[in-house]
Amino acid sequence: MMSLLRFALLASFLASAALAADVPALWRERLQSVVAVEFYAETEAERRTGISYGTVIDEQGTIVLPPVAVNPRLTPSQLKDFKVYRPGEPESTPAEYLGQDPLTGWHFVRAGEAVRKQLVPITRWASRTPREPALAEDLWGIGLRNKDEDFFPYILKSHVALVQSLPQRTAILQQEVAGPGLPAFDMEGNFAGLGLSSFGQNYVQFSNEARGGRPVILVNVEESGALLTAGEVLPYLKRVPQNVFGRPLAWLGAYALEPIDREAARFLKLGNQSAAVISEVTAGSPAEAGGLKDRDIILAIDGQTLPRFRPDGAVVQFVGREVLRRRPGDLIRFTVLRGSERAEVEIRLGEQPKLLLEAERQYFDRLGLTAREFVYDDAVMRRADPSQLTGVVAHFVKPNGSAAIAGLGTDDWIKEIDGEEIRSFAAAKFKLAAIEADRTRGECVLLVSRGGDTAVLRVKLQ
């Protein structure tokens, strides 16, 4: 009898211990999985510090940063001096930038040897069978203060308000639960999800000067109430880029995919599914070769009907991800609605042509101009023939520099220099370098194209 009672007491003690887990202790332990990452972004005009929060994913010190960590206009060669800081530590360790994964959008960084043994991968805290956060479930997560406070860690806590497919499973909490890129956990300390960049919140701002309130959207950039659920994170942690550009990169060639709204779907009798219309099939692309047409409405991929998303717009990313999760050379089959007919189109995905980020570029100081190689996407954006990639793009025009004063604008397409047609980036580089080197020269003349019109610009070099 006595022993029975003792057992019952022990059991209830254990049960209550499980219920009220020591969250601060769990938090302290899991801090080993988070870091702050600092780097410099060097452009023609300035050198700017970038700071992002990251989560450790493996024993090699690999860290994922959220997609927004790096301005997409910057090339990897402009990103310098990556450093990793542990929470609350003023000292940093150098790190290496590995590149961006096109599917998840994550940037990958690898911390130097010195700090690796102090880091613990997030997978350590993942349960073997990750479950989706339940409605009203309490979750807690990690936040980091700014650099001037040594990235001092703190704890956030909230409950799940909604779980949505956007198209990835996304938990939206009642308030902020983690820094963007930092993990959140359930009350047992199991990894629950990764903080996304925050959603904006609507407020009405009142002021003494203006009568009535003014609606404003405020975004908390340091903390987020939205999580990419563990099930959408863990399977993708192996996608460490093989190179800084994330190649190989599957290529379809469908420009501007637009969602079909509910009313149009009902009109087209599509039932309870999503669909997306292809605005344009780009010239020379796998989509063109495989027989997709402008205005085709995608209904299914490999026989799988596109699931219904709310909002409708999520279908665009869904289709994009279906392409990007495949590899160049893979087959993908689309069921499309073309006019009133259904058609099956099978496409062998290609390798993406040279990206804007991969395009060569060079800054010419006397002209105040960065010339960039004209690549496939440039041609698509300018409705030019992408089989003829000639001329160069004014990637950066220095304010009040010679080229700017002559009227050159960013993204203008330079087709001729001093009356000579520019057929390659090398030719442009040679020509511009010669102009800059010639100190006796007073001017040069550019033929540029902007929005289909051209103009002759006279650049004075003095």
Binding site: Y255, A256, E258, I260, D261, E263, A264, R266, F267, L268, V277, I278, S279, E280, D294, R295, G339, S340, R383, K415, E416, D418, G419, E443, V445, L447, S449, G451, G452, D453, T454, A455, V456, R458
Partner: protein, 453 residues
């Protein structure tokens, strides 16, 4: 972008103003005002216009006031295109004797900002109304500093005379939308005067001391002191004749956008005062098809040398091309690099970027036909479709998601190659309301929307 502050001077509100006409005394040279001048005053009219606008998803009426000058015994009146346009549904002319007479549009030409209306002959006869008419002077003979007078209805103040001089007789002013959204100024230069020109002066004459019409006042800088502009009479005379004869001025188009060569002669190895820079060639235009491109130098048109060193020289050159018969061949001598060669271009009819407009009122949707020029400018694949220029909140078009600037390409699978196609779909909807599927291009994105009853 360019000279955005230049405003057309049409007073947009109706003034119910009691105008007391005071005898005007001019401190002019010598004995005072000539007989011709007094006669001219009796030829200047006030024009009240009611016109229809389609912008907000419905037909709306608006009213404006301008000026004009009678130029013939049978009551032809010259005014501005931005005073009277084909959208006018009611034109009322106040003669010098303060009698009001109805008038009808004879024709308009937004390129020169001129319109011609004709007084209602029956009404004139029935009421036995009398009026004087003005005469043209030679605008080519005007000299800088010459005294001129502006006569008109500034701010509704009927028969106001202001005095100034010719400040410049060859002012360049070109604008893509200065005449109620239509292009103007590509084919003529303007007279500049410091005679006070205010809203409502539009369409009134600029006259010399003998009362001869040397220009038609059209615009001025808002916020500046007395920078006014008028269309020279020698151009106005030709346009008047053309509009009376044909109801419209037909011009030729080849698609070259000229630029002033100023400072670039040495780069192109040209002697001074030779050639016009071709800044741009419209994609798909006759010039583009014949192989011309931006950066070429135009040396001669049909063997006739051209000089486009300064931008003031460009409108007459453009006018040389525009004056050719539509469909005629023009030989352009062009220098490209070291090479000089001839290109033969067959002209097309010049079209405005602004197509015909309509309001599909059951949908609360205002549209404008995509013109060939609009399609080229916006790099559209064809000239099919209508542009949304306005929606009425809460009406089917706005509820479906259509927005201003969208291009509706198809409705219920029918390609909209004319305004009639969408009018017919709308008509059917009005009789028997059923959902209509429209295919829309917004920037370059294609979307489908459903217009529901």
């Amino acid at each position: 972008m360019k000279q955005a502050t230049v405003n057309s001077f049409l007073s947009r509100s109706i003034f119910a103003l009691a105008v007391t006409f005071v005898a005007l005394v001019f401190p002019a040279r010598g004995a005072g005002v000539s007989r011709g001048f007094n006669r001219l005053l009796d030829a200047v009219v006030r024009i009240d216009v009611r016109e229809v606008a389609f912008e907000a998803g419905t037909k709306r009426l608006s009213a404006g006031i301008g000026s004009g000058v009678i130029l013939s015994k049978d009551g032809l009146i010259l005014t501005n295109a931005h005073v009277v346009s084909p959208r006018a549904i009611e034109i009322s002319v106040t003669l010098a004797n303060l009698e009001r007479v109805g008038a009808k549009l004879v024709g308009w030409d937004h390129w020169t900002d001129l319109a011609v209306i004709r007084l209602d002959a029956d009404e004139l006869k029935r009421r036995n109304l009398k009026f004087a008419h003005g005469e043209f002077g030679d605008s080519d003979k005007l000299f800088l500093g010459q005294t001129v007078y502006a006569v008109g209805t500034p701010h509704g103040l009927t028969r106001t005379v202001s005095r100034g001089i010719i400040s410049n007789n060859r002012r360049y002013f070109q604008d893509e939308r200065a005449v109620n959204g239509y292009e103007t100024g590509a084919f003529n230069t303007w007279l500049q005067t410091d005679a006070a020109i205010n809203p409502g002066n539009s369409g009134g004459p600029l006259v010399d001391e003998d009362g001869r019409v040397v220009g038609i006042n059209a615009r001025g800088y808002i916020g500046a002191d007395n920078l006014g502009f008028a269309i020279p009479s020698n151009i106005a005379k030709r346009v008047l004749e053309g509009l009376v004869r044909d109801g419209a001025i037909t011009r030729s188009y080849i698609g070259v956008v000229p630029g002033a060569l100023q400072d670039l002669e040495s780069f192109y190895a040209l002697s001074l005062n030779t050639g016009v820079l071709i800044n741009s060639v419209d994609p798909g235009s006759p010039a583009a098809r014949s192989g011309l491109r931006g950066g070429d130098i135009l040396l001669a048109i049909d063997g006739e040398k051209v000089d486009g060193r300064f931008r003031e020289q460009l409108p007459p050159i453009q006018n040389t091309i525009a004056s050719r018969a539509v469909g005629s061949e023009i030989k352009l001598t062009v220098k490209r690099g070291a090479e000089t060669r001839d290109f033969t271009v067959v002209t097309e009819r010049l079209e405005s970027r602004v197509g015909e407009e309509w309001a599909l009122e059951k949908w609360g949707l205002s549209v404008r036909k995509v013109s060939r020029t609009f399609a080229r400018e916006n790099q559209l694949q064809s000239a099919d479709g209508v542009v949304v220029i306005g929606t009425q909140p809460g009406y089917p078009a706005e509820v479906s998601g259509l927005k201003r600037g969208d291009i509706i390409l198809r409705a219920n699978q029918q390609t909209i190659d004319s305004l009639e196609v969408i009018k017919a779909v709308h008509e059917k909807f009005s009789e028997q309301p059923e959902p209509v599927l429209v295919e829309v291009q917004r920037n370059r994105q294609i979307s489908l929307f459903v217009i529901k009853p």
